[in-house]
Amino acid sequence: MDPARFTQVDETTWRIEPTGAMRVPSIIYADEPLIRQMDDKVYEQTANVAMLPGIVKASYVMPDAHWGYGFPIGGVAAFDAEQGGVVSAGGVGFDFSCGVRTMLTGLSVADIMAVQKPLAGSLYHQIPAGLGSKGAITLDAYEMDAMLKGGAHWAIEQGFGETRDLARIEEGGRMKGAKAECVSERAKERQRREMGTLGSGNHYLEVQAVAEIFDRDVAKVFGLKLDEVVVTIHCGSRGLGHQIGTEFLREMLQTSEAAGITLPDRELACAPINSEVGQRYLGAMRAAINCALANREILGHFARRVFGHFFPNADLPLLFDVSHNTCKVETHKANGKTAKLFVHRKGATRAFGPGHPDLPPELSAAGQPVLIGGSMGTGSYVLVGTGGEEEKAFASACHGAGRAMSRHAALRQWSGRQIVDDLAARGILIRSPSQRGVAEEAPEAYKDVGAVVLAAERAGLARRVARLRPLICIKG
């Protein structure tokens, strides 16, 4: 995008003043090179979001933003139910609560490198990845509903996970207000055999080394030590979420017209929060969030089991589990008063600062871990929420590197085999059912994740704690 199209507030804050049907401004947090890299559609999409009824303060954009559908990926917007606010199926997307969890291992890089190949092979065979992979778990109707209500609690009750994990998962591992009865039979059918599967696209499991520490005090609280190893999992609500997103997008397209809402883009289909459709969507969406929380808990359990074969004494406590693609009811200050708002984050991470009441006591002084997935070759980051009185974008931060080019363009530039070989030469083992999938996820197809997190830090969204570099990547 051309930076001249914005009002520059400071080095990392850019505004689009409200024009036409925009009810509030748009605010983009990024440095100038990142703004230049962003597709022009990001401008158009964030301006469209600013037109939705009941939007509060501004339509925000994170530094890793790119062209999405409806909302930009990296878009954040909050709505007030009392002001006619809406909930938007397009604003949350198809993969509810797609998110990232990181587990500590206490193992050193040397420990892992001694077994790198067999460990990579074992993880690849034990963690179902890619389209057509089968999970070992089949849910009947009763268990499906129990899972949709219970989230990670349900997974632990089934023997997949540890009770101590719950305090380290958003919402304590169970999203309240989930209504299994609001989820269609088709969505449930799509999920019956998908629990404990990684999925495909940009979903992965990585074994990573702590390569750099930026904030020693917070790293200590998080348990991150230089040259120690962590395991990170990125995946979401699988087929169930995709089906719910599809069905409500279609329904809201019809009902928004009936509710008198003028949509600047069909993909922004929405419903008033205080409407039958809006409430039904929230019930289904929360059930889908629980599905994602349960799925990541199960995958974490599988990873622990594999590590247990190689390192019988290893303990893998959960550092944290973050969700992207959500709409959550949160209390924020807006326009001089504290209000309960429906915060949509599409490809953005919640980033609560120190002292936030929803954080577990041991993290309260430091703030919420914000886990940023990078690309296969470049690495990932752990940030910490800053929040407090100066909270920006409703306590949200970036979620990843953000793509610099489409899958289509990546395929024309790289071969999967070449990427696997190049990364192997750098000590990074990739295991994937599809070479083409690897090419589509080529490291160079992503923006520089280092530049993204630096911009997030400069903008005051979150602060860098550690950089992680990949050792093994299981790609779906």
Binding site: D39, K41, H66, W67, G68, Y69, G70, I73, G90, G93, F94, D95, G130, L131, G132, S133, R186, E189, R190, G199, S200, G201, N202, G239, G241, H242, Q243, G245, T246, L249, R250, L253, Q254, D265, R266, E267, A269, R403, M405, S406, R407, H408, A409, P433, S434, Q435, R436, G437, E440, G476
Partner: protein
């Protein structure tokens, strides 16, 4: 894309992928809307796999929508659903349209990771870049972005 026909206004048939942020655009072309829909379905399959797909079994689907563009989204989502619950990929499609009602048969086989090496999994068809239209030469095109 192949072309056929006689005279100056050759009508095209085929499909293409078009770039979109993190996702993928699919577009089919044909002399009729039904053929453009069939080609768009082939483009959807090609997001998943480049492998040849055996016609081991046939699946019938039906859908409808308020207009022809929304019908394309419904059609692609119906295929995505059948792929997901049957663990199949489809390599041939036959579409019959009656206004904005669609009936189709699709032929395919069980997905096999070794044979098909699936690159990614379509999550859902979107209304982004959704367009079903006829050009001046008479060719229909039908396309949208698919979330993957």
């Amino acid at each position: 894309m192949q072309s056929y026909g006689n005279g100056a206004a050759a009508v095209s048939i085929g499909w293409e992928h078009f770039p979109h942020g993190a996702d993928a655009g699919v577009r089919g072309f044909g002399p009729t809307v039904a053929q453009a829909f069939e080609q768009a379905a082939l483009a959807l399959t090609a997001i998943v796999t480049d492998a040849k797909i055996a016609e081991q079994s046939a699946v019938k689907v039906r859908c409808e929508a308020p207009d022809i563009e929304q019908l394309l989204v419904e059609w692609l989502n119906a295929i995505i659903y059948e792929m997901a619950v049957r663990d199949m990929v489809f390599g041939r499609f036959q579409v019959a349209l009656n206004g904005t009602r669609l009936e189709a048969t699709m032929w395919g086989e069980s997905i096999d990771q070794e044979k098909h090496t699936p690159a990614c999994e379509p999550k859902g068809a979107t209304y982004t870049m959704l367009r079903v239209a006829q050009d001046e030469g008479g060719t229909w095109s039908a396309g949208c972005v698919v979330d993957v």
